[in-house]
Subunit: 270 residues, 2 copies
C-alpha cells in the first residue's frame, strides 16, 4: 500500500543551483531525495510546491513523496536533519491523503524580498537581502504595488526564458514596508510566473529611486512587454515564505505559527 | 596634531580566532587594523571595548584609534567596508575627544546568548545560536538569573584560564525570554569576567533542563568555585549587542538600533 507524506523544509539557497533536480548540480531537491532514499532504502521521487531559482531561499517550502512504508515521524525527521547539509532543515512532517499534491493543491504562495536600505552592509542579512545604500521611497513603492493587486496578465514581469503560455495571476496581497531601514516587499498570489517577483522588485527599485512615479507600475503592467519592466533583482534577496493549502488537507501540524502570521497578512489584505 | 576616532563594528565571529590580534591568526582586530592602515598609510593601533572569543559575534563593538589625519567620515567608512571581509561591517564612525577610551570609558556591556529551542535546526540562526531540541523551562531560567543581579563576586563563573584578580561585577539587567521557541538570554553589566556569560548560560541550561531548580544559581554564586557552575556554553550562541558610554562623549551617531533590528529580522524569520 502506498503512503503519502508532506514535508515542510527551510533552506538558504546561496550555495545551491536552485531547488529543482538537474544533472551534476547541487540542488535542494537532490539533497532531499538523497536523504529520504537513504532512510527508506527506496527510490523515492519528491514533488515541490514550485521551483525556486539559484540563490533563492525558502522558510516554508512544501514537498511531498510516496512510499511503501509507514513512517515514524519523529525518528524520520530527526534522521533527515542529521543527513541534510547545514543549509537545509526539515521543519515539519505530516501524513497526507492520496489527493494531496504539493504543487497542484496549493492555493497561494507568499514571497518576500528583503532590501537592506541602510548605508552599511549587514553581516547578519548579507545572504538573504540585497544591499541598496541610496535611500528608497518606500511609500511610493507601496503605492506602485497596489496597481498589481487582483487578476492581471503579468507578461511584463515574466522572464523571456520560459515558454509557459499562461500569463495570468491573481495577486491577493502586496505590501512594501520599512522597518528601521530594512525593507520587506511581500507578495501573495495564487501563482507566480518565472522571475515575476524579482522583476516586480527591480521595477519597484526604479520607482523607489525616483526614476519613475508609482503610476509607472500601471503602465508597465498594461504594456504586457518585459522590456518595459525594470531589471530582474538579485536572487539573494528573495525568500519563499510559505505555501497555502485547503484546510481539508489537515496540514495544521506543518503549518504552525507561521501559518497564523500568514493568516494575519491575508486578513489585513481582505 | 592627533585626532581620535571611534568606530562601531559588527561581525560574525564564526571564522575568526576571536577579536584580539594574535600572531598568524585571522582575527577581527587584525582585519580592522589592516584596512585602516591601507587608508591612512599610517601604522595605527586599535583599542577594542573588550575582547570577544573565537566564534563570538558582535552587533555593536566599539573600537577607537588615533591618527595624524583629519578623516572624511563618509568616504572612510565606505572604503573600510569595501576593504573588510564579508563577515565584518563598519556601522558607524565618530570623532571623539582625547579623553575617550573604548575600553576604559565604557559604562556597561550588553551580551545576548541565543538558544534555538525548537525540535529542528534553523538555517537562518545556525551560526548565531545554540540548538537544544529538548524543551527548556524558560521561566525557571529567568528566575535563576535574578539571583545574579547587582554587585557580586562572580568567581564561580570565571574561566580558570585567566589570572585577573578582580572578580566583582555589577549586573544591571538580566532576562531570559522565549519568542516562539527562540530563547534570548540577556545580560547587561559594568564588566564581565572571562567566559562569564557562557558559564552562566551553561548553568542556566542545566536549570532549564530540570537538573536543578532556580535556587541552584544562588548556591553556585555563593560557592565562588568554578567547579560548581555548569559547562561553558558554545561560543556560537553569544553576541556582544552593544557597549554603553557616558552621554558626554556624544556618541549618539554610532549608538542607533539598526543592529538589533537586523537580529530581530532573523529571529522572527526562523
Amino acid at each position: 500500500m502506498k503512503h503519502k507524506y508532506a514535508l515542510k523544509i527551510q533552506y538558504l539557497g546561496t550555495t545551491f543551483s536552485g531547488s529543482q533536480i538537474q544533472p551534476a548540480q547541487r540542488t535542494i531537491q537532490s539533497e532531499i531525495e538523497h536523504a529520504i532514499n537513504i532512510l527508506t532504502k527506496e527510490n523515492n521521487k519528491t514533488v515541490f510546491s514550485g521551483r525556486t531559482d539559484a540563490g533563492v531561499h525558502a522558510l516554508s517550502q512544501i514537498v511531498h513523496f510516496d512510499t511503501e512504508q509507514e513512517i515514524n515521524k519523529r525518528k524520520f525527521v530527526y534522521s533527515l536533519n542529521a543527513l541534510l547539509p547545514d543549509e537545509i532543515s526539515v521543519k515539519g512532517f505530516a501524513k497526507v491523503d492520496e489527493f494531496f499534491h504539493s504543487q497542484k493543491s496549493a492555493r497561494y504562495r507568499w514571497y518576500r524580498y528583503i532590501i537592506n536600505n541602510t548605508s552599511h552592509k549587514s553581516i547578519l542579512l548579507r545572504n538573504i537581502s540585497l544591499h541598496i545604500p541610496e535611500k528608497l521611497n518606500v511609500q511610493e513603492m507601496h503605492s506602485a504595488l497596489s496597481y498589481l493587486n487582483g487578476h492581471h496578465d503579468f507578461s511584463s514581469f515574466k522572464s523571456s526564458n520560459t515558454d509557459n503560455p499562461a500569463t495570468h495571476c491573481n495577486i491577493l496581497y502586496s505590501s512594501c514596508r520599512n522597518f528601521s531601514g530594512i525593507i520587506y516587499i511581500d507578495l501573495i498570489a495564487n501563482r507566480f510566473l518565472y522571475n515575476m517577483v524579482r522583476t516586480i522588485t527591480g521595477t519597484l527599485i526604479e520607482i523607489g529611486g525616483c526614476k519613475y512615479t508609482a503610476e509607472h507600475m500601471a503602465d508597465v503592467l498594461e504594456a504586457k512587454n518585459r522590456k518595459c519592466a525594470g531589471p530582474t533583482a538579485d536572487a539573494r534577496g528573495l525568500t519563499l515564505m510559505s505555501v497555502g493549502y485547503d484546510e481539508r488537507y489537515n496540514l495544521k501540524e506543518i503549518m504552525n505559527t507561521e501559518a497564523i502570521n500568514e493568516q494575519n497578512v491575508l486578513c489585513k489584505a481582505s
